[in-house]
Amino acid sequence: MSNSTFEPRLVGFLCNWCSYTGADLAGTARMTYAPNIRIIRVMCSGRVDPQFVLKAFREGADGVLISGCHPGDCHYQEGNYKALRRYKLLSRMLEQLGIEKERFRLEWVSASEGARFQHVVNEFTEQIRRLGPLNFKFDGGSHEQA
């Protein structure tokens, strides 16, 4: 796929209490943002198992966004701090596995920040568009992958 026709595929894991509500606000306020993101609602950014992120990349995502409540605002007290710690370590591991850390992003978006959500998605989409497709393919059976 050439970069001119390339449309990034993004997966966004949004927490129920802040970021998903923020995305909803962007919607009800009719703020337009890049349609490249597929949103998955989770109860808390701390619920995002690193396996979800790896699976998204394996299944064809070009970028993965995790979004949760601002530090100190987590509905479950500490879930977003857990997400932050996992994000930092997973970013390092992704780089070792050949996935640029720019493809993985953690953002804090509160329920009132519809405009911020719009901005994050637009900016992330453009960033991935510049990076190009990930094309991570490993079917576990084919041995001629490199």
Binding site: R92, G98, H143, Q145
Partner: protein
């Protein structure tokens, strides 16, 4: 009634799994009494043609260790699959890819460059590299193809059971052989070891504080390890929380942390990712900069968390072209 036929085979492995079979000591005599070993290249002089001459499905069970790195291994495991009623993936390499699976951080080109050109001990002025085919004095000589990616056994053929461990411990081997001989087998696809984490069985679990937190990561050689205290509570990375039990805590008793050779429990697909999740949540900082700093002190996270399971992880290998 004739005795059930058994085959042993090795692929990309170190020979430790073969050693584990020999280490059954006098118990191996009971095994030999009950079965007919029809193929075991490391110990008995049977050839590939002997195996080819057997009827399909005539071997009761094949124990195959090692991961699949070469075309020769691929060919042999397909042949063994055809001749066997049951195939047991024997040991970590066969089960998960194992230590040879760490080569999935590289590909054929980079491995060959390192092995035949850039290691300090290499002297290769003519730039000789193994070829799959070469003509010597008018005759064609061949070598197996070296694949780009190392695979676990079930990524190549259908596998019935898994015996985990590097190498599988004696009791697990004997239990598995006993279960097969008596026909008391668990559902197909089972890993023949208890389905709970190592921490559940670990004697050090009782020394784990109520709230386990880590402020500093240390490598085993950087500290005098307390022989009774939970390794994670000492800031030393121990794969116990994300690793299946059944190993009799051989490493723990030798005062070394778990390295994860038994792979994950049935509930988890990706051992490394799950361990990363558990370990990161123990970090005792909330400030982004401090978290960043402590995370940087973990040497080689991917190689540590996927030490035995990279081919069987969600991503399976490193994507080469992204690395400049």
């Amino acid at each position: 009634m004739s005795k059930p036929k058994v085959a042993f085979y090795w692929c990309a492995s170190c020979g430790g799994c073969e050693e584990a079979v020999v280490d059954l000591a006098e118990d191996i005599l009971k095994v030999v009494e009950a079965v007919d070993i029809v193929f075991w290249p490391v110990a008995l002089d049977f050839k590939k043609k002997d195996l080819e001459a057997m009827a399909d499905g005539s071997i009761a069970v094949s124990f195959i260790n090692g991961s699949v790195r070469l075309s020769e291994q691929e060919e042999m495991v397909h042949l063994l699959r055809r001749k066997s009623q049951l195939v047991v993936a024997f040991g970590s390499c066969s089960h998960l890819g194992g230590i040879p699976g760490l080569a999935n951080f590289w590909n054929k080109e980079t491995i060959f460059r390192r092995a035949y050109f850039t290691t300090p001990s290499t002297v290769n002025p003519d730039g000789v590299v193994p070829q799959e085919k070469v003509i010597v004095e008018g005759k064609e000589l061949t070598l197996p193809k070296f694949f780009e990616t190392v695979r676990a056994l079930d990524q190549v053929i259908d596998v019935d059971y898994y015996l985990p461990g590097c190498a599988p411990p004696r009791d697990l081997i004997l239990n598995a052989v006993g279960a097969i001989l008596e026909g008391k087998l668990p559902p197909k696809g089972a890993v023949l070891s208890p389905n709970k984490s190592l921490c559940d069985d670990c004697d050090r679990n009782k020394t784990k504080p109520e709230k386990l937190t880590i402020k500093e990561f240390k490598r085993p050689w950087e500290v005098f390890l307390d022989p009774e205290k939970c390794f994670l509570a000492q800031g030393v990375i121990c794969m116990g929380p994300a690793t299946r039990t059944g190993c009799d805590e051989r490493c723990i008793e030798a005062n070394m942390p778990c390295r994860g050779c038994f792979g994950p429990t049935d509930q988890v697909y990706d051992q490394g990712a799950k361990f990363l999740s558990a370990l990161a949540s123990l970090i005792d900082f909330k400030d982004e900069k401090e978290i960043e700093k402590i995370v940087q002190t973990i040497a080689d996270p991917a190689g540590t968390f996927y030490r035995f399971s990279l081919p069987k992880s969600i991503l399976g290998r490193r994507k080469m072209e992204a690395i400049k």
